[in-house]
Amino acid sequence: MSSLQSWAALAVLVPLAAALLCVVLPPLRRAGKPAAALCILASLVATAASIYLLTQHEAGAVTRTEVPWIVLGGKALASIGVNVDGVSVVMLLVVCVVALCVQVFSLAYMHDETPSSYGRYFTLHALFLFSMNTLVVAPNLLQLFAGWELVGLTSYLLIGFWFHKPSAARASVKAFWMTKLADMGFVFALLALFVATRGFDWNARLSTETATLVTALLFLAVVGKSAQFPLHVWLPDAMEGPTPVSALLHAATMVAAGVFLIVRADPLFAQAPATCEVMLWVGSITALFAACLALVQSDIKKVLAYSTCSQLGYMVAALGAGSAFAGFFHLGTHAFFKALLFLGAGSVIHAVHSNELADMGGLRRKMPVTTLTFGIGALSLAGVPGLAGFFSKDFVLAQLEGKAGWIPWTMLMATSFLTAFYMGRVLIKAFGGAESAKAHHAHESGGAMLLPLVVLAVPALAAGFLGGVLAEWSGAEYHVHLGLTPVVASCLAIAGLLGAVMVFGRGRAAPFAGVLESLDRASAVDRTWSGLYRHVLLGVSAVAGFVDRYFVDGLINAVGYTTIESGARVRRLQTGRIHDYAMAVVVGALLIALWGVLR
């Protein structure tokens, strides 16, 4: 194992060690603060390792170390190990930096928790970092799947962190169901891949049919994990979890695992043009649809959640257009500015004790640092020229030029406008205008919350300029050119922001209220899924339960009952009286004699 892989392994194993320590030493976990310190230390080590890895990594190099896993008859069916290349190094850095920022932020944000749930929170965070890093450095699809399921588990546990709240418990179960439903695709994809190639390598050469089958099944898993239409409904509900969790899992890293999977399995997807076509459309539809829903949310976290769906749609569309690098680039910048936005929202929620945009307003004077950093994140997301989001979004849009009759391109351009519009709405409603009653008592958050905001604001501002370096590392092509796409995109972004000022700036939202309300009915998708859940899944469960209870159990009970009953009857034959036995012997002897005579 070379030193590079050792550093990557360190980034995986140190968080695991921290999580395990907290799990096996309940006193440490229940003490709260020491557990938090341990977990943050582990994240710090992982971040340092990933930064060191980045400085040492040579462009285009791929090195891996694997040890045999699942050895059967002397032959390893799979391997487990560390894969170091441009994609995994960058992703590792993004995950570790965002995780570290979020954990430091949580120190203050979760301050009101009891020590034992404080400790539980950070234990889960360490477990998440381990799971996500396992996924990122996976050298084959099987280990990636293991990490994939582990992050799903931590997501479930963290959404339901406040499990005594019925809505949180429901949301966590919903997220679990929806993603597990989709993960069946991953399992079957692995099976199909193994049957075809006897391995789990994403570089496998397959026939077109097999490649289409495997990638379609993988894409099903991606639709669930990355909250694409029509399986996106769990993500807005996942906002029941603590806000820093939303920032880390449900905006920056875990939901991006789906996109990461496609980037990883790009050689497979390149062999399946049919799946890519579907991805292009699903991504575009999700982007536009979720952006429309983001317009009408009154909860600041829900706006950001739908916005995450929408931006993930951009990435999936870019991957569908055949550019893994565009998707990955947008993943990286999005991770920073969306984590920043969520943490900013967390800072605001912490100050006004409410998620509702109506309870905010006029916070720019009370919370200048939060306002500034949130503003940077919002403008970056909106795609204002020069900020990180502009470069990656522009690159995604450039990949879509001319694809499928320009329709996806048009849809994503419209989404750009809507993105700027709804972010402008949030900025104006939360930070502009007059102070609301709750905002009156708000005050700026403490240093532990502001530091991560400032740290994340730097890449949200400047990460866009790293596109060229990133492309070189991943061995992809990247050019910034002043053509049709960037000009239109910038104009739409600015138009969207100006439009928001016009509409919401001076309390002139009234004419649009009706339009926005009708959009809200679009959440019919959610109702469809809950109806399906209630009627189909629970119905099937009820039938299965009935069959189990009355047929399977009934059969077993019948056997037991018959044995007991017949025993109770037969035992009366044992009268204990010697005459009866003698009679039986005599009758038996006579019958035998009779049989002998008549034979």
Partner: protein, 98 residues
């Protein structure tokens, strides 16, 4: 007197034994009935040995020895039964019923 007469007598004795076995309540009477059945069989053995030849008489000697052992055990059981119930009626000794 030929073999048939002897076998008829043996059968009659056996049936009397069976009847006694099934109808008597007193343990001693049942033991007597068993003896009667045993001797019916012995009579058949002797009769066959007398008219047809063979080692039948030898078996009778064996059977008599076994009968002695059986009677010893049987009377011991009757003693125990009496100690337990102050009576030797067999229909009261039904402790082993299921």
């Amino acid at each position: 007197m030929n073999l048939t007469h002897c076998l008829l007598l043996a059968s009659f004795l056996f049936c009397v034994g069976v009847y006694g076995l099934l109808t008597r309540r007193q343990a001693v009477a049942v033991l007597l009935a068993l003896e009667l059945m045993m001797n019916a069989a012995n009579l058949a053995f002797v009769a066959f040995a007398h008219f047809r030849g063979g080692p039948g008489q030898l078996f009778v000697v064996f059977a008599l020895a076994i009968t002695v052992a059986e009677v010893a055990i049987g009377l011991a059981l009757v003693m125990l039964l009496y100690r337990r119930h102050d009576d030797t009626a067999l229909d009261r000794a039904s402790e082993t019923q299921g």
